[in-house]
Symmetry: C2
Subunit: 423 residues, 2 copies
């Protein structure tokens, strides 16, 4: 095999290949020989010792070698990863990758190339690190009808929101702590703006609903606007704020979105703390399932990569290949406006007679019915907290816009979707 990239994940892959050599050989039926490691700089410091003759900066030549039958790609990003994976497959190698961005952007090309070449393409590490979720969706639930998947698939944002919930910290403060502890990068955009989670949502939706969903199909809202007040408001109604990747099937169409949402504390996802990940699946016959574990980090990701490596290596020994994930259903993508959601809205209103009626009318005018309305007076103004029933996101957004323009409304202080709540 050849390894492309030797950063946090790659170096753990090398370490495990070495430490587990005997076990891997027994499980595969043949030894795994590392033929080369493609890196950007030969002299970069690494967490693992690699014989100098294995290191190369020429990844293209490495994947073209005749004696490389498996390529593990942990470079990340679109290029050169895409070109290298395609070359590897065309050269007859099976591929294991952890590259969620690439899979979310152009998975279809990769799968088609793998199928044409008669080779395996595995990518368990791309979503939720070490948590086995892709295989269960692809294989274990293949005889069931998955209706919805809700995931906490980004550890950085879960860490930040958990600290905001636990200590009442603000977003900036919690982000700074996450950066200090290495949970967030210096440039946290991919995480906090939910690009990472959106890519994973696309991969989950494709597998769950046997169709093609790309990253840009996913409605995306990050957590930078989540305030300590939002978190406190969630707490007051027995909820916690999480960044959720939600993919669901509605009348044959796919709705895919990533946004912060309040979920009740008794929901299994509410107890996912720190940088942990979890994926909650609803299927017609299986009912509710949850998969929980560490979603990132060198070791857990390397574990997922090695699991895939064993599968493709065993297939090579047995001269077989795995049957690819099916994408027979060509499903439409439901626009966010048509997706059915539910809003929590906190409003600062003037404390005078008739205010409640005015607010309630605004909801009614947009066809949105109200589940609960709670008033908290303070001084000359009052805080109204409204939780709606299910409505389309467009109806709800129009309601909020309407509220902002009402004379009696001083400010709409918190708007957030609510998930996992009955009634």
């Amino acid at each position: 095999m050849a390894l492309l990239g030797c950063g946090v994940v790659g170096s753990q892959v090398v370490r495990l290949l070495h430490e587990q050599a005997a076990d891997l050989e027994a499980r595969i039926g043949a030894p795994v020989e590392l033929k080369g490691v493609a890196v950007r700089r030969l002299d970069a410091p690494r967490e693992v010792e690699i014989p100098a003759d294995l290191l190369t900066t020429d990844a293209t030549a490495l994947v073209a070698r005749d004696d490389v039958d498996i390529v593990v790609e942990v470079i990340g990003g679109i290029e050169p990863a895409r070109g290298l994976i395609l070359s590897a497959l065309e050269n007859g190698a099976s591929v294991v990758t952890a590259n969620k961005a690439l899979l979310a952007e152009d998975g279809a090309t990769l799968f088609a190339t793998a199928e044409k070449a008669g080779r395996d393409l595995y990518y368990e590490a791309a979503v939720a690190g070490a948590i086995p979720i892709l295989r269960p969706l692809r294989d274990s639930l293949a005889g069931d009808k998955v209706t919805k998947v809700i995931g906490i698939v980004n550890g950085t944002t879960n860490y930040i929101l958990d600290k905001m919930d636990t200590y009442g910290a603000g977003f900036t403060e919690a982000l700074a702590e996450a950066q200090e502890l290495g949970y967030a990068e210096a440039d946290p955009t991919a995480d906090v703006e939910a690009f990472d989670a959106a890519a994973k949502a696309a991969i989950l939706a494709s597998l769950a609903f046997h169709t093609k969903v790309v990253g840009t199909d996913v409605h995306r809202e990050g957590i930078t606007d989540v305030t300590a007040a939002d978190v406190a408001s969630a707490k007051a109604m027995g909820c916690v704020v999480k960044l959720l990747a939600i993919v669901e099937l509605k009348d044959g169409a796919v709705s895919a979105r990533v946004h912060p949402a309040m979920i009740p504390r008794e929901h299994p996802l509410a107890s996912v703390r720190d940088a942990y990940n979890a994926v909650f699946v609803e299927a017609e016959s299986a009912g509710q399932l949850m998969f929980y574990g560490r979603g990132a980090g060198g070791d857990p990701t390397a574990s997922a990569v090695l699991g895939d490596l064993v599968t493709v290596a065993r297939n090579l020994v047995a001269q077989t290949q795995s049957v690819a994930a099916s994408s027979y259903a060509d499903r439409a993508i439901l626009p966010m406006g048509q997706t059915v959601t539910r809003y929590h809205v906190a409003i600062d209103v003037e404390d005078r007679a008739g205010v409640l009626a005015t607010i309630a009318s605004a909801f009614a005018e947009h066809g949105v019915s109200i589940q609960t309305m709670r008033q908290e007076g303070r001084d000359d103004e009052a805080q109204l907290v409204v939780v709606s029933h299910d409505a389309t996101d467009a109806q709800l957004a129009a309601t909020v816009e309407h509220l902002r323009n009402l004379d009696v409304v001083r400010d709409v202080t918190s708007v957030m979707r609510v998930e996992g709540m009955n009634g």
Copy 2:
């Protein structure tokens, strides 16, 4: 395909085959044709309508038919299931089974027969119903080193213990409620005496540690002796009582046991309520993982069966087969006495000077150190609650025996192992 058995699970399999026919055909690449259903009585009432010409009482003839290439066995029990599965494999059919008892007793023969015949043998439904756990252990974690698996794998006992915890009910009362609601059978022995959980523990240990473990290798204690006092005592120390199937690797040997144990309420397994199941896995690189869902019932079990059916059918279409689970490691079974555990012991003692010292000496004499000792006085006697540090089960059992014989001890009122606690 042919179906053996048409009870709670079988009838749901038939229903799903019918309802999902188009999806299954798309996922497999060929339609699934039900060629026959073997039943004990042709005229028994069933939850699903089956054409009369498909029903047969001659299961042996059914599995021998040339046009049957997949056999789904949901009869349960050892015979005739074993003979039928072996015949099916020898006749060239792939097999999907939910039969934990048979797998735990004689899985090795089944696997060897499947391998010799070049056919698939899948059994996801045998452990934890719809929760995909066998595939993750077998495939996803194949590149990692699983060190411990702790499962709540029996829904009936979890329901009973949950009610005891929630309402302070006694065992008999909670069992009666479970029977009324259909969670427990009229003869609850297999569940409450943990035979069911022990079979599942054997299957989990075999997969997790790549070796052969049978049901009788598993140390087994049921929940019939768990009292309301035990549950209350657990509560007082922030714990909950669960029936746990625990398999772990110690110096290359396998320890496999099923017994009630106290676990801290913050442990992910503590929040598994009602008849739900969950399996908690510790692996060297992946860290802690948990799989959660419905562990029994017709629908969830049928979902797992259908998932396996799709895999073996796709393999048939592709003229391939899955690589079997490896059992290259021939590991010793660690006797329960040598397994390292930790005890919670509640003792009624005479309330006089020197009692604590006497009790502490008894622990010390057997080499068991004490983590916490709590005294609760009442009238002329006192209740002492001791939680030990890790020690071998033999040391701990000897300590308890010793305590019972002390003059100052009136009664040892609760003895239970403690799991998932640090320190």
